[in-house]
Symmetry: C2
């Protein structure tokens, strides 16, 4: 049995935490630091890639921001604040019948969809400035 990366468990724990909904690689790196883990960025990169490949973690693509990662689980979509990059999970937005119908009409085989709607979060609307960094 091959050794597993020491980073797997801390990263999964991190993603399971509730402070942030989804984490960029940089977010992960900074949080691990608070636990005296200072792995190289490439190590985090490789571990997360592996988790994504195993389907244990989802990659969320954002407009104009590095991708975020979340634990795989019940499907949901996201709202993304384009000012502060806050990401909020919301119930599925595209009814499967609509999506399936569109895909079928074009002959597409769909992957799991992952919809991100861009907008401005309440905080940024009020402050006219980005929400301060969330504490890790």
């Amino acid at each position: 049995m091959a050794r597993a990366s020491k980073l797997i468990e801390p990263i999964l724990t991190l993603l399971a935490g509730s402070t942030r909904h989804a984490w960029s690689l940089e977010d992960i790196r900074q949080d691990l630091r608070t636990r005296d883990l200072t792995p190289d960025f490439s190590s985090i990169f490789r571990v997360v890639e592996q988790l994504v490949a195993q389907g244990r973690v989802n990659r969320i693509h954002l407009a104009d921001a590095p991708p975020r990662f979340e634990l795989s689980g019940a499907h949901h979509d996201h709202l993304h604040c384009t000012l502060c990059d806050l990401l909020v999970p919301v119930p599925c937005l595209a009814p499967h019948n609509l999506a399936d119908q569109a895909a079928q009409a074009q002959g597409f085989a769909l992957h799991a969809h992952n919809i991100v709607l861009d907008g401005v979060c309440p905080h940024c609307q009020l402050q006219r400035q980005p929400r301060p960094e969330l504490p890790a």
Copy 2:
């Protein structure tokens, strides 16, 4: 009156053409070449940025591929083939009531949404290999 870029008209004409549904900057550059226009990449970049800022052109963010650009117009969503990067317009997938409801619940002010569903196009399903480049 300031001079307008000479590239605006050819680019808009290009985007209005039907060969491709949406174009990357590189696609645009290559097509312009066939008309003996060899502008610098940065010039195309700046003109397209400008058109996007003016709302005349939409930027479509894709997973793992450079953004595509299309003329602004009637709203629609997209299917994206992750093998050959084909992009197909389909009718709106997220009913406004669902999206608005989710946004409202979170206090988000939504931009125009732009949903991309990733999948595999019919051609790539059959061939098990990416569709050859479309002619410009």
